[in-house]
Subunit: 326 residues, 2 copies
Amino acid sequence: MKVLITGGAGFLGRRLAMQLLARGTLSGPDGTPQPIDRLTLLDIVPAEGITDPRVACVTGDIADPAVTRGLIDAGTGSVFHLAAVVSGQAEADFELGYRINLDGSRAVLEACRAAGSRPRVVFTSSVAVHGGDMPAVVQDDTALNPQSSYGVQKAIGELLLSDYTRKGFVDGRILRLPTVSVRPGRPNKAASSFASGIIREPLNGEEAVCPVPPDTSLWLLSPRKAVECLIRGHELPSDALGRQRAINLPGLSVRVDEMVAALRRVAGEEVASRIRWEPDAAITRIVASWPGAWNPARAEALGLSGDSGFEAVIRAYMEDELGRPA
Amino acid sequence: MKVLITGGAGFLGRRLAMQLLARGTLSGPDGTPQPIDRLTLLDIVPAEGITDPRVACVTGDIADPAVTRGLIDAGTGSVFHLAAVVSGQAEADFELGYRINLDGSRAVLEACRAAGSRPRVVFTSSVAVHGGDMPAVVQDDTALNPQSSYGVQKAIGELLLSDYTRKGFVDGRILRLPTVSVRPGRPNKAASSFASGIIREPLNGEEAVCPVPPDTSLWLLSPRKAVECLIRGHELPSDALGRQRAINLPGLSVRVDEMVAALRRVAGEEVASRIRWEPDAAITRIVASWPGAWNPARAEALGLSGDSGFEAVIRAYMEDELGRPA
């Protein structure tokens, strides 16, 4: 069976690829385990450091229908559609956001429809589909009310995936990811980039800027758990989801000052003191529009789980990315 | 000021055009009344029977960006975006529905963005954006959960119009129309076509088929009131809507057997006996997925009103379309 990861050179895409290669199988469209014969990683840059013979790295524009049609055919059993322009960039570059996040998602879905193999499609959505007047804890049936272009584009992707699923063109699963923290690497243009930066940079001996007030609540999931949820979400029987294809993934509701306190406990005062507080109105507005928590009951009933605490998340980051047990 | 009606040759579009020509003015982007110097009616067929010198009838494909860009410029103050492939047709022809209802709406919004005049855009949405597990009476914050491709396309249109409004590219107003009944003319491919046909055809001496069970609840608005709401919705100050650009228009919650009873009272037993009950599973499924009522409190607070009763709706139809007072 062929498997495609869009955004395959990204941080989550690469981690997911490694896990899939280690597993070796995934449930096929009929629900039975199938060997992964070919794993294609599509991105705008080549995925680095993956040398498995089953892997093909393809660079291309996901919004170009010729690209997606060339990568999805009757042998494609699974698509993990992670490619996206991140929140801050989609807000700053209106056209790019719609081209990648809307046209790109449509191109993936249209290629699946044309292929006719009814692949399982895992689509990563976001806290950003919620916003405006919300209950303190967002429920599964809380109305989507995105307050950013990124959130609108993710909400549209959800609607499309649900309709393509209802029509039998794909078997879609929408996983609404909390903010993923702690991400390795460098800051990006996501409005939530600081949620990793304020942990990662101080641990690397660098200063980090926190652009939101200390009492800002975030809903977080660690990279390990995010990848685990992507695979478990893929493996769920289609009937377990019914007509509601979206799942709010479990997260940790943590205030930014609690994150810093956890860093201080794990790594000490000197590390924690490398955070500078410089409120940024634009970032604060976007982040404050997201829910600080949602009810993860449905996800947990489906066997998807989050992290036990933010200290453990920091320790896992240090193990996985810095190679030093904390 | 230039005004554009997409779907201008359709039944609501033509009625709206007549009303606008009679008024002669609309609020411009800055809120002050402006004369309507030019009223363009875009449709796939020419609008018939409108000879006012201010009117330009244009036939063209709304999903072709060259068409919409050619009709919307810096002088455009208002767009009534009514053009759509109806529910039954969008369900039967997947590609056509997405092309007209999604690509067409985007083409209109992109042309407005390019024009830079920040026009008021009135977008007609639908009961069909709701569905699935709903409260008995849908509230303003009930989650959109469309169960048809048409409903998905309308929900996407709503999200886009809200985002373009938030970004300042247009001043959008989304009016969620109840099922409009009684429409004149012939049956169309809307799943709700029967909601007019079971009144119109018997009054014309013809047999009508009712494809849904007698106890099906519908949420109805008359053509007169629908056009009135489109204009009032346009005239609302932008601030009155705030961030929530969608308004659930007031309607009448009526069961199909109550509609027939009203017809019997207005026109007699012989007329009412011309209805044949032939349940159609596909139509029943779509119609049953729509809400039978929603809370119109916000619309009413904004000065938008519905009909007083279905008998009065039938009488208004007879006056307006048959030229005979009932």
